[in-house]
Subunit: 353 residues, 2 copies
Amino acid sequence: MNYDIAWLSMPSASLDDNARASAHARQQLLTKPAGSLGQLESIAIRLAAMQKTSTPTLENVAIVVFAGDHGVTEEGISAFPQAVTAEMVRNFARGGAAISVLARQLGAQLEVINLGTAQPMEALAGVRHYDLGHGTRNFTQQPAMTEHQLACALHAGRHAVERAKLSGAQLFIAGDMGIGNTTATTAIACALLKHAPSKLSGPGTGLNADGVAHKARVIQKALDLHHPHCAHPLETLRRMGGLEIAAITGAYIACAQMGIPMLVDGFIATGAALVATHIQPSTRDWMLFAHASAEPGHAHIVQALDAQPLLNLGMRLGEGSGAAVAVPLLRLACALHNEMATFAEAGVSEQTP
Amino acid sequence: MNYDIAWLSMPSASLDDNARASAHARQQLLTKPAGSLGQLESIAIRLAAMQKTSTPTLENVAIVVFAGDHGVTEEGISAFPQAVTAEMVRNFARGGAAISVLARQLGAQLEVINLGTAQPMEALAGVRHYDLGHGTRNFTQQPAMTEHQLACALHAGRHAVERAKLSGAQLFIAGDMGIGNTTATTAIACALLKHAPSKLSGPGTGLNADGVAHKARVIQKALDLHHPHCAHPLETLRRMGGLEIAAITGAYIACAQMGIPMLVDGFIATGAALVATHIQPSTRDWMLFAHASAEPGHAHIVQALDAQPLLNLGMRLGEGSGAAVAVPLLRLACALHNEMATFAEAGVSEQTP
């Protein structure tokens, strides 16, 4: 490649095994039957190891929504017109989208990054425009991105994480917006996991059964074209991904390198997480998984990542919305871990031997 | 019965069908694919119907923990000694228990009601003591409660809901504390649902496999003794229930009568919800279910109530902790419903026909 992406192979930060052990020991002393807080216990312990502290906290949460358009929409694979990508970027900026509401409720930073919409966009407060092209090219005909576009998109994700780090973020959430991006993510997942498109394809924003069957055929066509060239996951990402998917992939790798826990959203974000772990397996150590998406292919990617998402609410919106909804659970897990009394402190009898 | 429980048969408040229809219509206009917020959409719509408003909110949440001891602990059916019930009441009052931490984090009112611990208790700030006996009697030998005790416990639950209503509560959470109460709840559920104890019995606070098998035999003994007398669910509750389980049952019936949405916690609370719906089926309309407990019998009770709990985090603590953890999801569901822009407001294109 003719652009520097050597940073992708830098190692992930290490977890603090002492903090993990000490948090695990503390959980056994709190006034509750051992294990009775379920996943809230294991989350607090993992966050302790990531934050290198016995008292993890998540006051400062950074949410970044990455947007980009997809040339493959020419193939009629989405229930919504391509114009919606840019329209939703404006909706994020005005505060009317789901993720805008959630970020306000959580007191989280929200940044929107437009990597390349099909239609040119005006300057908008709270939106950072990268002009990497008018969306990707139709990947049933040619690679979705040039090598330069891919490198720039990966960098855009990394830079977002650097800004989050500088602002003190204790948790990073990446959201996605891009009409057509379930098609791109499904294609990538099929290539990396060697599944048939008919197995992973789903309705996205609202296709009917015929639409889903057509989408699977479009993906198969792309796989037939690109498969011989996809020896490396980066090439799979370049040929069938999207600008926002590449940016999220870069962001995840950077989070692990900089030691910031990431809370992975649904289908698109989990697809990017899959690419990130194929590029750099240790990225997985820094991932928490927020929710099981209603998009049917999600379960297969989740399984490949050996993940156990916290929520299963039938959500399938994207934007980072499922991850945002899970933030209060993580915060409560930390509060319980930090504030509950121990058996000794409270004078409560322990389990009968 | 020699104590007035006629109030139990008063009808539940009615839901507002207009508010429900209007909330449902609004959900279709918000800038997201229809249905893409999953259960968060249906919750907002149900809360709108309960609160008789198009903009439901849950700022004011009342949590009441009901505590009581169980004579059946004589049979060796719990991993913790009976003294823990009173010790945990003190822990609630001092703010060190899981539910204390969660109530603080949520800004929720927390009231603790001691209906009758085996050991006498001192006065404690934030704890209301009812002296209904030193716990229940061992229900493998005789009915757990007298008719008077049952009536008083049901009333205690109702009075807690009346206080919550007066303080403006928009959501009611009942928690439980009582060593031995998974045994009592399992016995009630077996009687009402006609399941074998071996099917519903579980580890509770931490029994091993032998302990669970013993617990199932203890429950079978109680069922053999009481079954001929259990034509009415109130009699099932009196003979095999607990003071705190009866109080929660009374609270749930009162919530429905007073039109307060209730968020049902795990195994014990769901058992009380089952009794409440057997007494007054329309109580079900006012119930939201917070989480799937790790106690194995819970799934059967949930199924009988046709419920779909929001969370499945492997929690099995009681105290109302699972319900408290779900409160932020309900609040976010309301915020999304109330604050998201519509397609028209945001100038976003709708789905292609």
